[in-house]
Symmetry: D2
Subunit: 271 residues, 4 copies
């Protein structure tokens, strides 16, 4: 199981969310409470937007907790929209190209979860990726392939529709191999303007996904942060961080969340 967070709002140093909060992503990666994957030590990644046309990417196969470059970069780079991911796997190889986020032009993509029996449908799914996007696949994960299937299905024009078709495609490929319930996922996606989150399981139950409290609540809980966060700030996380963990709002199974123009909308996701 992986962990991730995505932030959009007033520009902040990335360390404000990645290193400073209690039970932050890096602490979680080292002291996991999950019995299934006790440690997220199989690489990490950051993707951030700034005034450049495409987002920056920093990915490494070192554990996030002992990478001094990561600490320096997050304490020097400010961003109004960024994603971070820590990886745990017993499957695909540990290499930078298998670390999230994945990037295509102005798009970033992070994933937690997995495709069941991926080895059985990997080759068939690769064949469905448009040649336009194929050479942007650099690694061997189910996650990167899901991103490129979604690109093939029009992610750049309609995110929820493309993710729906990606889900249907994966599930259909699974069924051909006798796998009834193929997908188990949360996704974080951005084009640099909007931030999308998805929580889905083929069996109706996906991994957890949370959104931060609204600004009124945030200011009440963190009077000190008021200056830093400005008018609007929102964060998606696979598991709550910080001192007020009970204040995070769980996104329901089979739902999506869109954060755009300082507005947060949650709705059903029924592919």
């Amino acid at each position: 199981m992986c962990r991730w967070l995505a932030y959009t709002g007033a520009p902040i140093l990335m360390e404000e969310l990645i290193f400073k909060p209690k039970d932050n992503l890096i602490q979680q990666s080292l002291h996991s409470k999950s019995p299934r994957t006790p440690t997220n030590g199989d690489g990490f990644g950051l993707g951030w937007y700034d005034k450049q046309p495409y987002p920056g990417l920093f990915r490494s196969i070192r554990p996030a907790w002992n990478d001094s470059n990561l600490r320096d970069l997050t304490s020097h780079i400010e961003s109004h929209l960024f994603m971070a991911h820590v990886r745990a796997t017993s499957l695909a190889t540990i290499q930078e190209t298998n670390c999230h986020p994945f990037r295509y032009k102005n798009w970033l993509f992070v994933h937690n979860g997995q495709i069941a029996n991926f080895g059985q449908i990997h080759q068939a799914l690769l064949a469905k990726v448009s040649s336009k996007y194929f050479e942007n696949i650099l690694g061997s994960t189910d996650s990167e392939l899901m991103f490129h299937l979604a690109l093939t299905f029009g992610l750049e024009n309609d995110v929820p529709a493309a993710i729906s078709e990606m889900v249907r495609t994966v599930e259909a490929a699974g069924k051909e191999k006798g796998v009834a319930e193929s997908l188990w996922m949360t996704l974080g996606i951005s084009d640099g303007e909007s931030l999308w989150g998805f929580r889905y399981g083929s069996n109706g139950i996906g991994p957890t996904l949370y959104v931060s409290p609204d600004m009124v609540e945030l200011r009440r809980l963190n009077p000190d942060l008021t200056g830093k966060l400005g008018d609007f700030a929102a964060c998606l996380v696979s598991e709550p961080i910080g001192n007020y963990q009970d204040s995070w709002h769980a996104i329901a199974d089979n739902s999506k969340i869109i954060i755009h123009n300082q507005r947060v909308e949650v709705s059903d996701f029924k592919p």
Copy 2:
């Protein structure tokens, strides 16, 4: 351009060929005389056979010349059949899974050269790999794909026939995209018993490939080595190593070499 060597003969410490000779592979990797790729600093790999059922593999993305683990391993591991490879690329990502040798069960495979316009035919060639071998592809190089195409075409039963069909398949895929001359390669292949070498170019000109002098000449040139090399020893290299560089025998373009049962046979390779 990459560099490689393959050895078969009496068991020797791998350093005897990799570090000790004048102008050895590691020296070549750092002080290349080639204007095209002045340095082979993009990873390396070793594969070696011993009494275990499958060969051992050690691959790293560090430059070979500054890896202290490599020096220790080659000065402690003896093998009667091994391969070493240093990589230079401006193309596929630097990651261990893109380092040679590639392995499937008891088979090892190294490659120097490239498929022209690989990006245009990568996806089509991947679709031709048998599902039996597909999940053994871990990286993104043309080299690893050539190996898995050859496996698909029966490498485990008939090496020259499978390599021929691989060559024809790659050239046909290239022609569909308007590429007249797709392949430029030397290959080193072993099953742990025999050692095969191939030199081929679609345009009739492949990268260089050399075989070591025969035993009579070797003993004359290296009286000191006589004890170490025993009854038989042969080595394939992309470029000559050692003090007697003029004594290496060039393998002609579009030829193959088979070393088996202490015999060396060179013949045409016309796919």
Copy 3:
């Protein structure tokens, strides 16, 4: 807190102890039960003796559990005397030169524990290392410095006496800075013939250290292993591995163990 094991006996593939036992070192490194250092993901190392004059060393800053080179090497290299170590630190930098074992000529050294307030006495202790050994210090850990102090104090001639003087020297340096109880350690040391283990704490309580059951018990517990282990085999571990964890014998605090000529001797260690 780090973890380590050391083996001496009939030559075996290193994986027999490192990867195959239940709750082996690699499993322990990932699923630690210790609240203080939940994960040993900050590098690892192997040192092994064979017929070469000096032992081989393989050290890496990747977590041991996701290093495919480590898996291959331990399944191909046989040794009659070897050590393995997994590291967890919040202190010294993560780099290969800080990974155990440390080596000087035919000597290997592993350590678990720490010097309290090391930063305050680091420089003073460095000044006490003989210039003969100084340039063999490549990293920045307390462990490597302890080894080189012991070398300075005659480790090559009398191991317990040199370790005693090292302990007294560290404790005296600590006391000068007002630290009453400076040392907390287990050590594993070998010259390629004998294997020494030490358990010590300045306050009378050291980290745990265990020795494997004697051969009669081992054969009763593991009828299958009889062939592999030959006449004699013994293993020191920081924490028990395998199916019969209760059968390991704890070494008492402030004790040493010497395994030599197929004999195991435990005695007091009072520096």
Copy 4:
């Protein structure tokens, strides 16, 4: 021999100097024309100032030419004062803590050159470092030790005086061991406000050091850059980069250069 550059002026993306110019530092690192050290593939580092109190640092042991993180960071991070360094060594270990720049609080330090017979005086010089700075030494290079000696001798108050005393101290230590000419160096140093460069050899001949053409000349040579470089920009390099290599000004042997408040001053350096 290493290579480095240091820039101060209008804020620019670091790639403008590190990747974009003809014969840039990265190209130089791969295609060296120096027979002594044909490749600078033994790690690299970046240090940059922004509005944070201390500079950021990014160091890696991968060759600079194949590090995709380096490319991304330099194309996303703007700085008004930064340094970059590529390393070639046959001596000290390849590890991040041996990569330049070295940092202490707001200070950065890069070095090209070496201390002759460093192994003979390493321990004696370490003993001269003030305990205040000692624990900031993380690696094992002569360069980092030179920086910490200079800190000990008052670098934070008077840069040329501290560098002079460091030089005298190293030369005296060398002479005690019979080394007549110990030092061969260029240095780049900054506190975030000013930039200092030194070129010195104990034998009167140091490695090369160049400063960029003045603004009038720069604008004439690069009409396109006028907008980017603003009122003032200056760059120190170990070897000229860009299209107008003959326009760089060589700093004479045993000289120093100070760039402060948009002024450039060159003067003698006679320690």
